[in-house]
Structure formats: C-alpha cells, structure tokens
Amino acid sequence: MRRRTARRLAVALGILLVLGIAARLALDPIATWRTRKVLAGLEGMRGTFSDVEIRLLALSYVIHHLRIVKLGAGGEALPYLEVERAELGVYGKELLRGHLVAGVELRRPKLNLLVGKARERTQAAKEAPEAGRGLEALAPFRIDRAEVKDGELLWVDGREPEKPRLWFHGIEATLENFATRAALARREPTVLAARATLQRSGTVSVFATADPLAKQLTFAGQGAVTGLRLAELGELLDAKTDLVPERGTLDLYVRFRAEDGRLSGGVRPLVKDAALKAGAPDLGTRLEAMLADASLHLFSDERGGKEVVATTIPIEGRVKGPQVQAVPTILGVLRNAFVRGLAGGLSGLPPPKAKEKQGTLEQARRALSPGHGPPRAQPKKGARR
C-alpha cells in the first residue's frame, strides 16, 4: 500500500516537473514575442533588443540591450534611448505582506536629446513618456519603484554649428511611490532622488517629492550643481553669447515648490573667480567681453582671494509657464556685485516675497540701497501675501 502511494506520488511529481520545465522553456519565446509586439506599437519610434529573459525565482523579466530609435531625428547614430539592461520585477517581501508592488531597474540607460532646426529633427524630453509607456506596458503590474544605475543624458543643440552639448553621466536615481495603494495607505509622497556628474567637474544632486493624486501639480524639492568649471560650458556660451569663459567655477542652488499649480522658488548661481574672453574676433564682441569681464571684477566681492558673484533669481508663476522675473534678476546682479554676506548653499532660498507689488523704480531703489536685503519676488497683481 505504501509502495503504491509512493509510486503515485513520484509519478505526480514527475508530471509536474515535466510541465514545469515545458512552461519554463515556453516562457522566454512568449516574452520575446510580447516585447517585440509592444515595441512595434511605439508611435514614431522603433524599438529593438538583443534578448529577453524570464527569471522565475527572482519574479522578474529582463530585457537586454534595448534600443529605441526616433525615426527621422537622431536615427541609428543617436538613438533616443539605449538601455544595457532593463529588469522589471515584483518585490517578494511586499508580496508576502499582501501588496503587489513592482519595480523597474535600468542599468546604463542613455537618453539622447537633440534640439534640431525642424521639429522632425528633434528628440525632446517630452517624448520620453511614450518610451516609458512602452516599457510599462511590458510589466504585468503597476510599477511603484524605478531605479537608474550609471545612466547618461546627453543634450545636443543641433541648431548651432558648434553643436554644443550638456552631458550628464554616472546618473544614479530612484523614484518611489507611484501612487500604488500601499503608498497611498501610508500617506507618503512620490519621492525622487538623483545624483550625477555634469560635463567633467560638476556634481549634480536633486531631491523632490510630489503628491501624485493632487488635482493640480503639487511638488517641492531642491537641487544643486557644484564645482562646475565654466570652461566646460565654453561651447554653449560661445554659441549663445560669443563669449568664452577663460576660468571660473559655477555653483548653482535651486529650491522650488508648486502648490495647486502655482510655482515659487529661487535659483542662486554662484560664479567664482570668473574671466571671459571674446569668442568671435570682431570689435563688438571684444568690447562686450571686456565689459562683461569688467563688470565681473568691478561688481564682485573678494572672498578668500577669489572674486565671487552671486544673486538669487526668484521663480514665480504657474507651472505651465513659469516666468523667471527679469527685473529682480537684473537688479540682483548689480546689488550682489557688492556681496556682503555671501551665503553659499541653500539657506535663504526661496527669496522672500514683497508685501505689495513694487514698480521698477521702487525695486531699483530698494535693491541698490545698502539697508535693504536682496530683491524680493513680486506677488501677482491683486494677489495677497
């Protein structure tokens, strides 16, 4: 009796094992077919990959060498998105707690943005959601966490003959709480944290949180670029201004907040030990360079033997079209030419708001008077503080 039971058990286990192996062997081709189908459905883009892998024990699905090319713009030479390895998986520990939470990890993704003269020659950041939707369609579950390791972002201005570029690399980023029930139940915001290198010398860090279900955009955060050598922006500045920085470094700090679609915040660039020269040889550009250089020297403060120019640029407006206020910006540059209390870092951001809207002359009088603080952000007409 016992032997018969044992034999039946062994046969049942054997059948299950065979079925399991067959299912496992069938999974990869099915996944490959499905991935190809989803990528074929991307609008205006073509997607390819080298391999797809299902990992049952890790509850994940891996795409190797994913490549999305925008038809007509960068083309094969400059694909819109390349990812060495994209893994979509379920978090086992959250599953044990009864929450179906999925994550995506992108290893060595590279996003190439190209500003072209014509729209069809442009690869813009706003098209990234189309590629993202494609990836998300491959996941059987809602994604709650995304991770980027060793990423790159290249922005090229194809409108200029020099084709200046900004290169972010070594990007490490996490994005959590995409409004799954688990996160909402915990009353936690969506959180973005990122760190990268800009050009060769700049260190970039960003932190932001958002309420994903607010009726209007609601988010807050801060960012910084530190230690960026101005010479590494030479191509860009030369293309846009015909001025080339000979030396100097840039630190940039920003803090922002948007509530019910209203954006406020401040940007503080700190330019240290800067000097400029003319990029083009004509007299007008040389004079412009001399004046710019003179103003940097004349209007700077000596701190530790280095000249530093700083200002706080207020940001106010609706998030659809935030306006950097020009008048306070210009006055801020002049005023901070005699920087007394140079405050590096994030303290003092965002700048305080004026109680009432001030006219241009009043802003000038206050900004240039020694007794008053930095320029204040101006309230909207009719708005109360």
Partner: protein, 136 residues
Amino acid sequence: MRAWRALALATALGCAAGGKREPVRPPPTGGAPEAPDRPEERGVPPRGERPRVPASPEALLAPGAVGEIQDALRDRGYLGAHRRGELDRATSAALRRFQEAQGLAATGAPDRETLRRLHVDPARAYGRDEGSGGGS
C-alpha cells in the same frame, strides 16, 4: 520520514541559534526634530488625507530617524565622523557607499529600500506626527 524530521529539527535549531544578530535599537523618541526643520524645507504641508510634500530629505524623515540611520551605517562600518542628527555630507557619502555595496542606485538619499536593508523600519522612519512640526 525520519530523515525529513531530523532535517526540519536541525533547521529550526539553526534558526533559533541564529547567525549574527542585528542590534536591537529603541524606536526614535518623539519631540523636536534632531535638526529643526528650516521653514523653506517643509515644502507643501498635508491637507486632510493628502500626503505632505517636503522639499528636502531631512524634512521627509521623522524625528530621530536620521540618528537611527547614522547608527546603522556606523555599525556596518560605513560612517565615521559626522554631525549627529543631520543628513550631512559624511552621512550622505556613507549612504552612497552602502547603496553601492548593496547594488542599489547610489543617490545618497534614504529611500525605502535602503532603509529596509539597513534594518531601519521605513514606516517608522517616514511616519511623522504632523502635530510636531511636519507641516509649515
């Protein structure tokens, strides 16, 4: 059947004996934040059931959580000299080193998965009492 029983018993004994145990840390105490929030870091305060939306990682964490994170990093040998209770450069760099070692994105920020691997309870680390300074 006896062999299976013996294996199960051995496994249970092994679990009970345990390997290296994580030190038991008392939960963070309430009261004022270790490094008082600067008003500009508080971001958008919560309204009703909506989450708060802070502008900095320090403002996201509950009182005492930074210290707990620093203890966990120090116990694992990632953190040396630092300013207690502040997410200073040393703490952020230690977090990055830990994240790299764990194969996580090395942002230097205390995200949920990083806290879990440090054996710091994320629910407690993020769970602020809104009455004690979580909003502006």
